[in-house]
């Protein structure tokens, strides 16, 4: 075998190796998302058990404002959309567009988080904190766990922005962008559940 041939073969195997690595990372990330699903499922279960344990405190019905939660939902949905556009641009190797969509996604995510924190502080200032009842404990924990994930997502968006700026759209950054967008869509999905279970069903349909 000539040296050129060996080099070609080595390059080819290296590429398959890299392809396999991408594939493997994606698979591993899916498994992680599944475990996160179980985590949220457990929190949903605790909420379902405790949602009527108000211990003389406010009920879900009296506490939540549906329009507010709806606004949060819409913001997150739009951010999921912009995140999708980001991935499309990444596949087209449009670095500037990727950065722009990343930025918009970040702003929307931050807006969502701000709204959520405002809602929390509103409840707490009225004396309806997590200490008040089992219901409120489970509400705060479920929603804040999602919020914590969003915070992590925002942090991830920032690092991705930095990496795209610094390295451009390489195989590795595109892989990471893909994972990040998966994560973001996943959080959106979880929020839909939170919106339905916490605000719609438990809060009662009073618009």
């Amino acid at each position: 075998m000539s040296e050129v041939e060996t080099a070609v073969i080595t390059k080819v195997t290296r590429q398959t190796e890299q392809h396999e690595a991408d594939n493997k990372t994606l698979f591993g990330f899916w498994v992680y998302l599944m475990t996160d699903c179980v985590l949220f499922a457990s929190l949903f279960a605790t909420f379902a058990v405790l949602h009527s344990n108000t211990f003389g405190g406010p009920t879900a019905h009296s506490l939540f404002s549906l329009p507010y939660a709806l606004a949060e939902t819409l913001i997150l949905l739009v951010s999921s959309f912009t995140c999708g556009l980001m991935i499309l641009s990444a596949q087209n190797k449009a670095k500037r567009l990727v950065l722009i969509w990343l930025g918009i996604t970040f702003i929307l995510g931050a807006a969502f988080l701000t709204l959520e924190i405002r809602e929390f502080s509103d409840f707490v200032s009225r004396g309806d904190s997590w200490r008040r009842s089992g219901f409120l404990s489970s509400y705060f924990t479920l929603v804040a766990t999602h919020g914590l994930h969003i915070t992590m997502g925002l942090l991830w968006i920032l690092t991705m922005g930095y990496q795209v700026l610094k390295r451009g759209l390489t195989r590795i950054t595109i892989r990471q962008l893909t994972l990040m967008s998966l994560f973001w869509h996943f959080l959106d999905l979880i929020w839909i559940f939170i919106f339905s279970v916490v605000y719609l069903i438990s809060g009662g349909l009073n618009i």
Binding site: V31, T35, D36, V38, S42, T46, L50, N53, G134
Partner: protein, 661 residues
């Protein structure tokens, strides 16, 4: 203002009042100092750092898991010895050598440490050592994650031992049922140590679960379809699927209890709208699968051991695979059997009782298949087989006890009694621990290049088996006599004293077994030249891990194996034509990194901060973890290349079944 800087250290009672705990703590500190100075004197720091602390190699991680697990096994065993001593002496007017609260801490620590740090550690150690070799790959799917998992496990193990010297440990039993584990009834640091050491180690386990699932699904050797995968790997797949589905529940449960205790929430409190029964449901929704997480890999080990030492193909491979998968699925549907006595309706109890009994079917199938693997074989009774024989007898007996406990109407009479304690020890000691001991003996030469002494290994197994019967037989009887678990004292009129003394003697015999095992390791090391494995295949075995040299080189296989049948290596050995030697290619292996160690260190600080209400320290921990992860993911290349020349040099130094050099 300044006070909050020191958190709970302001509240006094920082150091243990008990002389036993204090001396244990001092002993550990002295031991650590001795080890550290030994390393310094022999100038081994650099070696330690490069070869071990920053390694991402699965075999070294496996060895470290096993070392930590054995240390924790000894700790858990000394807790057990203290329990046996107390119960053998604390009767009537005598009150034993421990106070009630200390006894309860020891009991809780024993259970917690044995399950989370001894059994889980041995399991992950063995999986790390064997799995990549067995499926013919060079490492796990995510080596850095693997290192982080191990260091988190080690951080959890360290944290739980800190409770010996600072503060106290939980006395609420190994699963810390609320309301007893709530702040109102357990105001000290004990339960917090329990929560955070398990939380840190548990997240490591969860990451390992994801890692090994991906490894098995994506990294198998070419040609190894799932139905050609050796049974140990199958059992690991089942076990890791359980980890991935069960450990998030543990994470949530521990978090909720911590929120109750630190932020005044009301998940499980008595009053305030809390629901303690929900905790019991959640913890067992994790806890029951946990039992199968531990026992499935042991089943896998026995499958390898029985077939190897009978020199015969495993009987009923497909049945075995189906049985593993059936157990995996069923183990999620039975958690309620841990609390039939909580007042659920007859229908609910009956359904869960029946679901529990269903598990006996695939388990029984496995036992029959093992027996028929031996049938028409040529059985060599090496020590792994002795462990297996002990397992078959004890595990079957424990299974019968389990069937009794699965009938709710019977369970009302046996629950929380020593009968129950004897039952689950039978399952976990004979099922899990014996399996791991067999596995350790079996794969030891693959890792270290020489065999363990067989004679001492057999003595240890005999002592363990006899000791087990002596220690736990009486507990079955005591349970029927109405003795409940976790008693630090009982009245002489009960007549239990004789049985507790018998159990104590059994415990002493087991302790002798452990002693022989320690001697076995030292002796085998000293005599290693006489038991060197130069073939790479000391047991005439069947699966891929035996096709490479012993000890396995750091890259496992110079050329990745290609598989065409189930007992891949057996086939290679017996093929008429030796397969061609493939052309070697440069390898890409993960670089060393201290990031895992750093993450775990910060996790330890975080946990310690949360326990002692040192919020600034907890914050440093969190920020430290985030920073380390960020630096790691944004830094460049994580792999290094081994050239063909380097590869050939290493291969030349190995004696191998197949010569590449």
């Amino acid at each position: 203002m300044f006070g909050s800087l020191f958190g709970r250290f302001n509240q006094g009672n920082v150091f243990p009042d008990s002389k036993i705990t204090a001396s244990a703590a001092i002993g550990i500190v002295v031991l650590i100092v001795v080890v550290l100075s030994l390393i310094t004197i022999t100038r081994r720091w650099k070696w330690l750092w490069n070869e071990w602390l920053t390694t991402t190699n699965h075999k070294k991680i496996g060895v470290m898991y096993i070392i930590v697990a054995i240390v924790m096994l000894l700790r858990g065993a000394s807790d057990a010895a203290m329990v046996r001593l107390q119960q053998a002496t604390s009767v009537g007017v005598h009150h034993g050598f421990m106070s009630a609260s200390m006894f309860q801490q020891v009991v809780s620590a024993h259970g917690t440490i044995m399950i989370f740090f001894a059994a889980m550690g041995l399991m992950f150690g063995l999986i790390n050592l064997v799995l990549p070799l067995q499926i013919g790959t060079r490492d796990v799917a995510f080596p850095f994650v693997n290192a982080t998992s191990f260091w988190l496990f080690a951080a959890g193990a360290l944290l739980i031992n800190v409770s010996l010297g600072l503060g106290d440990f939980s006395g609420a039993g190994w699963l810390a049922y609320p309301p007893l584990s709530e702040l109102k009834y357990s105001p000290t640091t004990g339960v917090d140590y329990w929560i955070w050491s398990l939380q840190i180690a548990g997240i490591g386990s969860l990451m390992s679960g994801i890692n090994f699932i991906t490894t098995i699904m994506k990294e198998r050797a070419r040609g190894m379809s799932l139905m050609k995968m050796p049974l140990f790997s199958w059992s690991v797949l089942g076990s890791m699927l359980l980890v991935a589905f069960a450990f998030p529940i543990l994470t949530v449960t521990l978090t909720l209890l911590a929120l109750d205790r630190t932020l005044g929430m009301h998940f499980f409190t008595a009053g305030g709208g809390g629901n303690a029964m929900m905790y019991v449901n959640l913890i067992w929704a994790w806890g029951h699968p946990e039992v199968y997480i531990l026992v499935l890999p042991a089943f896998g080990i026995f499958s390898e051991v029985v077939s190897t030492f009978s020199s015969k193909r495993l009987f009923g491979y497909k049945s075995m695979v189906w049985a593993i998968m059936a157990i995996t699925v069923l183990s999620y549907s039975v958690w309620l059997h841990h609390f039939f006595t909580m007042g659920a309706s007859s229908n609910v109890n009956a359904v869960f009782g029946i679901a529990t009994m269903l598990i006996a079917i695939p388990t029984g199938v496995k036992i029959f298949n093992w027996l028929f693997t031996m049938y028409r074989g040529r059985i060599r009774f090496a020590s792994p087989m002795i462990w297996f024989m002990g397992f078959v007898f004890l595990f079957t007996m424990g299974g019968v006890a389990g069937v009794l406990l699965a009938v709710p109407a019977i369970d009302f009479q046996l629950h929380n009694s020593l009968f129950l304690v004897a039952h689950f020890h039978t399952m976990i000691v004979s099922g899990v621990l014996f399996g791991y001991f067999a596995g350790l003996t079996y794969w030891f030469p693959k890792v270290f290049g020489y065999r363990l002494n067989e004679r001492l290994g057999k003595y240890a197994a005999y002592l363990w088996i006899v000791g087990f019967v002596l220690a736990f037989g009486p507990l079955y009887i005591l349970g029927l006599m109405g003795a409940t678990r976790r008693l630090d004292h009982y009245s002489a009129a009960t007549g239990w004293h004789v049985m507790f003394i018998a159990a104590g003697i059994g415990g002493a015999v087991i302790a002798c077994g452990i002693g022989v095992q320690i001697i076995q390791v030292i002796y085998s090391y000293l005599k290693r030249d006489s038991t060197r494995d130069i073939t790479g295949d000391p047991w005439n075995a069947r699966s891929l891990e035996w096709s490479t040299a012993s000890p396995a080189p750091f890259y496992n296989f110079a050329a990745l194996p290609v598989v065409s049948s189930r007992d891949a290596f057996w086939e290679m050995k017996h093929a008429k034509k030796r397969p061609e030697i493939p052309e070697l290619e440069p390898l890409h292996l993960p670089k060393n990194t201290p990031a895992g160690l750093f993450i775990a260190t910060f996790a330890f600080l975080f946990g310690f901060g949360m326990i002692w209400h040192l919020w600034w320290l907890a914050l440093i921990g969190v920020l430290g973890i985030i920073m380390t992860v960020l630096i790691r993911v944004t830094s460049g290349e994580h792999e290094e290349t081994i050239s063909v020349k380097q590869l050939k040099e290493v291969e030349a130094s190995l004696t191998n079944w197949r010569d590449y050099a």
